[in-house]
Symmetry: D2
Subunit: 342 residues, 4 copies
């Protein structure tokens, strides 16, 4: 059994980790920390966990995280970078669900996240935890930077075409829509039900933190620095991301077979039949990314549609997938979830 | 492995049966019928099942249902009663998710359902599939009448107090609220998103088909014919029923211990701590009924709050629970689901 | 033109007052205060008001409220009671949308609201602004206590039957459901979209602040102290309250004519035909209360269904209605709004 | 007073026309037809209209439409073209909210709408009712083709930049999101609440009927045939369209002043301050189009955000605006509506 600790379990990625890990056959949940809620049974805050998780939140100092095999950070940005070094030194492997270790260029990171990085040397070591790209490196990683939700949906959508050099990397557009849980479980007016229900809006159109993370990945796939316009939107979903991607096709080959062969062995990427439109609800609660593509009017524009559950494949599910890879378990263990539809 | 057939798989209880049975370790899905959609892969209609269910809908005549160990009817009212006799004769056990066999008094049934009953003799034999009441009889039942969604939530809420004679059975009130999936996957204007979203209304306040089913159960618990007012409401949930129950307390003992001891051994009824308010989302996708009670201002009125997912404990999950009981499997097999929150 | 000031305009009752008053032909909006947002144009916070309201929030000290004809308090509980005396002395009439002046019994108020009352002498003078009951007194009132949202829906539902002595006042039940805007525009976790969407729950079942307000009103209608059980619920609506009321009928006369004649001259209470089920969306954005009643199975229980928009007839619309009465304007002026359906 | 008839009043554009026209000071509602619902009071189907609209649906033959000054067709595609000629001959002016007269190229129309056109000669005469473009011609039009909802949002967004030759017309992208009421009040499974709630998907990505309508308009603005990729999406809103538009900037001038000066005199187009993100709810129930633009990272891509209420500026409100223009009334009469927020 793998001894697992979770730092910062009171947010949505925390409760989702618990939902997944509580039923994972090879995991022993050891500690879940929250300075503020120390002592409160987890299932009191998240009643869906009643009967499944007996732990109480504990103070980080008393958590004994150094005795875990792996620690997940389900914390705001800027926390993991302060605690990772000590855990790694103690032989604990670390998966950070926040953004601390995702961007290799420290200057870029510091610009977008507005703080100095606390342990630059680990940024270089950290493996970006997108298994469809970095599976081999994840196996032996001590420190995994779990991708962001938008970056997962967008990268998986563009990946096959960029790798194969089939689209113009200089004029990529990612029009992405996210459910409100993507904003976290923070008390903020803009995320209140009466503000976010029956409402649709773009935000961060002039610049969003996930832009450099996506660009870094796409540039790697493409082999050259890409030109990307990324516009995120807030839509009245609890969970779900839908990325609509636009690119110019530069080589005219059968795109369906490109997608299908690239993802043939991927357990969590599902390429739909040609002409399909994936729905976010088909992956609600599941660790799946569903993808389809279109070439409207047979022109040179390809439209790629990519959906994930932002809390599963876009966060906690992908983190568990990374854990499975790191510990040599079957990659799908504990993640054979069927989307909740309706 | 139990060979399972499903008649009428294109509705919400059908897709929910598939979600549960596809991951059930002792079930072999043999056939799922739909006259109208014969030939279409199930996962084409319900894309959440892609990769989990390979079956296509088949014509009932070609389904070979007589070779199944058990057949679920996820059909409109009035279908199972026409086909059950033949299946039972062939040695197949039957679980009907519709209302054909729920009401023992044929005249009452015919009045509320507006049709003549096709096999009255089976009504007498059928076991009402509320495991918390009829577990022993379900074990050997050939034919199980799976309870309705409202009746499950209301009966489990009143059960401990009526059995113990603690409330006045002549003045019971059940104010129940249901998500829209309770109306089924039928193309009807009143259930359209623009009609049902951001809207709340009562319906059937003067009389609803679930009234006689609930009354029959409550009268059995009480030992006398009860007086019940039942008002259902439609609320903008996809899934979920919340029953708010009102009764007059006639004997002053600790109600918390009454609830807790009645349900101590029930795997799917969760009595919350005193003073709690169960949320429907805590059971979203789970086979759990969560219950709490209040005595406002310490008066003689008890308020019982009971929540279920109408498609799981209120339909398909309870049907699988009944199957487990009928076939001697652990009752929780395939049903250890954690509610999807958020 | 009536010079109008609003204290505390950053909440939902504030923006709703502005929506109504901006189009009111006899109102000149003079000042809207917010200490925190002083200087920000109102239409920047509430973009629906762009082109309709040019005011900016101003500091209460600079607002010149003493020069207004009437001041609305759209503030949290406990603010109006600190400022009302001074305004009244300056000859300004006051309408408080909060609870400071609603309850005549100071001890009861102080118990439920957890603070000492700052000007008890005004409590006695204040008129409870339910026009259907107190229209005459409102005309000359200096200080109007605008009713709460639940109290409006519940009182208007019970009023005709209690006044006529047709129901047992000792066993009244009010099962009420509210949209999330009823909780105000405060950053609180429980009101976040991912918490409140696709979820239904009761709250305050053991006691809610609106209980004494409702009881006070019902007791007045009945002529005796009533026995009331009141259970509020949160439902995923932006706006809307649905009250389902239960009572025992003690005199057998035609209830439809009782409702219709009681409300024959009321512009904002609409009695539906017998057997109807009012929908909250039919009053979305409108100052209307729609009511219907049922006697299930012809028994002695009457079920009354009463719907309002909590921000209009349950708050700001009723406040404007009171203003119209106080200033001798046609009661419907500025309020002839049609519900937004769908 | 203008005598107004409505053909086909049982859909969402019909009830919205009634909501607007019932309060229009210069309109006398004369007839509203529905073959199927003839005899039913309109307010019985749409209870928000109780007390505001006394008409009943009447059979088209008995409606006396030939005595109206103007008739609105709120019908499915293909109806108006069969009845318009007769009404025009009788001297009645016609506003068609469907697509029968929107597209000048008959072959294109017939391809996308799958039927032969019943009166090609009127297609040439019909004026496309986008007042911001065709105001002068609308004044004297006998027959107005009211624009589609997507086409309104997309055209108003691109208009200033295409007219001024500031963007490359060959590579335009319109990623548009619509609320479910855009699908009409038809009983279809995909629009049921449990299908459309908490779900997001694209549809018609390979080709949608609004594409040729939009292209026709954009080509007119641009003076050359445009290259447009248009992808519509369904989002869980009751009302609202959000168009996110992408184009390549070819001339570097201050875009804000271009937008502001183009729409300076337009009562129903509101250009937001630079850097804004318009929200659909800010126009809920209002006849306003709100627009903002961004140039992410100062690059050569311009992102334009355009929101409307699909039932108001995207359908019935724009139709009333056209009527006002046709009859020499103030263009804003009856349309000075403030968005319902929250």
């Amino acid at each position: 059994m793998i001894k697992v600790g979770i730092v910062g379990g009171t947010g949505y990625t925390g409760v989702e980790l618990l939902r997944l890990l509580a039923r994972h056959p090879q995991v022993s949940l050891t500690a879940i920390t929250s300075r503020k809620e120390a002592g409160m049974p987890v299932a009191e805050m998240f009643p869906n966990l009643r009967g499944h998780v007996d732990l109480a939140f504990c103070d980080p100092q008393q958590a004994g995280l150094e005795n875990c095999d792996v620690v997940f950070f389900a914390t705001p940005n800027g926390i993991a970078m302060q605690q990772a070094r000590e855990l790694l030194t103690a032989g604990v492997r670390v998966i950070d669900l926040a953004a601390d270790f995702r961007i290799k260029d420290l200057a870029v990171w510091q610009k977008w996240y507005g703080m100095e990085h606390a342990c630059p040397e680990l940024v270089a070591e950290a493996i970006y935890g997108l298994p469809e790209v970095n599976r081999e490196q994840i196996k032996s990683a001590r420190l995994v930077a779990n991708p962001g939700c938008y970056p997962t949906a967008v990268q998986l959508g563009f990946l096959p075409l960029l790798e194969a050099g089939l689209i113009d990397p200089q004029h990529l557009i990612a029009d992405a829509k996210s459910g409100v849980s993507g904003a976290g479980r923070k008390a903020e007016v803009h995320a209140l039900f009466p503000e976010a229900a029956d409402n649709f809006k773009a935000y961060g159109a002039s610049g969003h933190r996930h832009l450099p993370e996506i660009s870094q990945g796409l540039s790697q796939f493409s082999g050259e620095s890409v030109g990307l316009t990324f516009v995120p939107h807030l839509t009245p979903l609890i969970r779900g991301i839908h990325a609509t991607l636009y690119a110019r096709v530069v080589k005219d080959i059968d795109l369906q077979s490109v997608f299908e062969s690239r993802y043939a062995d991927e357990p969590f990427v599902d390429v739909l039949p040609a002409g399909s439109h994936p729905e976010t609800r088909s992956v609600r609660g599941a660790n799946t990314c569903r993808i389809a593509w279109h070439r409207p009017q047979g022109g040179d524009v390809v439209v790629i549609l990519s959906v994930i559950d932002n809390l599963v494949k876009g966060a906690s599910g992908q983190a568990v997938q990374n854990m499975n890879i790191m510990f040599g378990l079957p990659e799908t263990m504990g993640l054979e979830l069927i989307g909740l539809l309706p």
